[in-house]
Symmetry: C2
């Protein structure tokens, strides 16, 4: 992997040079990890003209969940008196004689930015803006391999849950069990807080598990994902509890399923983000369920669970190949519950078989 | 509780008025919750001259883990087109005709701050600095009651673990089981990522659980805490696995225990933060174990697990009554393991019985 990180850093360095910055300070943890291989808590990456340095408030623990630092990056522990790695990096940049430093203004707080200015008043601070995030959108095959493993782990954890007795158990317990199973199967941890929603809660985006117990006749919706070597995927499924789903449940499920399929099928290289969103959204709109819909129907995944692109009505940009995204429309009917169906897919050329579905758990409406 | 929040907001408003700001924008989630009773994701609190408003990117879920919004705060949902509640709040403040707005420069990013300035260019943006954090240091009895319950839950979860078979189980599994037990006993969730460390990992601060299995003769150190209604406590204990601890284990344990007791006994109203730290630290220093010691030996807890005060050599300030803090010295010997002992206590007058120990699990060296 070592070469990979070096290539990423050169690309960023070229970009900085093109905009007139001689050095860059990367502070957002996922960006640090993307460029250096590891992001111990509080560490920042200084991309200098001569060498790249990871400044760490304390010795990295060697925890594999933090990643492994690229050999070409020099690890520099801060003196215990230094309170902020970014400030120490600015002092170091000043020492090397560079005139300008690009910083992540969308991540640094106003107070930290001011501290940087005060230790290096003659250093010009530019905005690196979302340069690293943009670089992260298209994944290489190593990254996709990590996402694929994350999805396998996720499918396994979910599959095991479906074989167990669900009636009478609480949302919280089911969520904790799913997270334990993710770790059992090799995840570094859950990719995000696992959501389990039953009955009237089912289908709510981002629902946090409560003490409500699963009952006969409920919709049960779950949303989970594994974090594997930093890469995070997402799956969402909705089931019915009991022997036979009610008519309204079948109808709602088929509607959301149709919307989700339309979204998946719209995942072709060159498609506008907003058109993918519209493909899913218009099916729900057409059935009068558009109002209940979230602001977006999908998003990128990678080192963070919520990355660019956003699949939303006002999103600008077009899909490339090798961009992993979720497609996750849902409908929630207040007081009754609802349905969410969520997959992680990678955009691929049609000649390569079209979008690659990473989360392969069935999307049939199962009655459990 | 409603009155409590109103009183807190008035205090902050008085402070802003004294520094010339007519309105304040609170964005840090724990601060929002402290002042408004609830902090749904992405919400900000606008303390205006006439009314207080919680601006929310989407309708709060009613999740009790988010807290319950004080009735006197007006809930304002953002239009779906608005991307940032803080920016919407600045527009609103501009609309009310105030000339200045105090913002949390230690929380707002440079990019968000710029967006605020651009929607309200004639509004003067002051720095609210750590005004709310400072207000949060001394807790009222309702807050301490929540911490007390959080500690009870934590003691229960830990006590149950100690009754189970430990040899052969991995750090990860033990950590997951502790978190499940916290939730079983009524926690809204863990207060922070549970740490379980065995053998050579034992005693490392902030160790993240690995797949290492518990073995005979190991030190086993655990650090966990419950989140109850937003309030977070912390306990750390170290045990020996097997029938009889080795001499070096007993010696190291007694040393850390003595340091921790000295720290606890130094918790009197009016004591300088640094003196509490020194009380614990000098015992370890005296035994030649000071080098391995962390930058601090304790910290405040409350709506965040790591709050002011810091019990550290360079910390400025003195303890008040009703300040909950941890006392958590530890020693880690590379390759061999180590000991941490960590309690949450509330500073009380000596006439009231001295420091109130919230985490009551025994600190005897148990052989499990």
């Amino acid at each position: 992997m070592s070469e990979v990180y070096g290539v990423r850093r050169s690309r960023l360095r070229d970009r900085c040079a093109a905009t007139g910055s001689a050095a860059a300070l990367v502070s957002r943890p996922a960006n640090v990890r993307y460029l250096a291989g590891a992001a111990p808590p509080g560490a920042v990456l200084l991309l200098g003209p001569d060498e790249d340095m990871l400044l760490c408030p304390r010795t990295p623990s060697g925890d594999p969940a933090d990643g492994r630092l690229d050999e070409e990056v020099r690890l520099t522990a801060l003196p215990t008196s230094a309170s902020d790695a970014a400030v120490a990096a600015a002092e170091m940049a000043r020492g090397t004689g560079v005139e300008s430093l690009a910083v992540e203004e969308h991540h640094l707080t106003v107070a930290r930015h001011r501290a940087l200015r005060s230790v290096a008043p003659r250093l010009r601070l530019d905005d690196l803006a979302l340069a690293v995030e943009q670089q992260r959108i298209v994944k290489d095959e190593d990254e996709i391999a990590c996402l694929r493993i994350a999805a396998e782990i996720t499918d396994q954890a979910l599959g095991e849950l479906l074989e167990s007795i669900l009636v009478g158990r609480t949302e919280r317990h089911l969520a904790l069990e799913l997270e334990r199973r993710l770790v059992d199967h090799g995840a570094d941890g859950p990719a995000f807080a696992t959501s389990v929603a039953t009955g009237p809660n089912a289908g709510r985006a981002g629902h946090r598990p409560t003490d409500r117990r699963v009952e006969e006749g409920d919709f049960l919706s779950v949303c989970l994902g594994a974090n594997y070597r930093g890469y995070r995927c997402e799956i969402g499924r909705t089931f019915v509890i009991g022997t036979t789903p009610a008519d309204w449940q079948i109808e709602l499920y088929e509607l959301v399923f149709a919307a989700q399929r339309a979204g998946r099928e719209a995942l072709v290289p060159g498609a506008a983000y907003r058109d993918v969103d519209r493909a899913a959204r218009q099916i729900l709109d057409g059935a009068g369920q558009g109002v209940a819909l979230a602001a977006r129907t999908g998003h990128g995944v990678g080192l963070e669970i919520d990355e660019d692109p956003q699949l939303a009505p006002a999103a600008m940009g077009k899909l490339d190949t090798c961009v992993p995204v979720t497609v996750e429309p849902g409908v929630h009917l207040p007081g009754r519950g609802g349905v969410r169906i969520d997959d992680t897919l990678v955009v691929r050329q049609e000649a390569d078989g079209g979008p690659e579905l990473l989360t392969i758990t069935t999307k049939e409406l199962l009655a459990l």
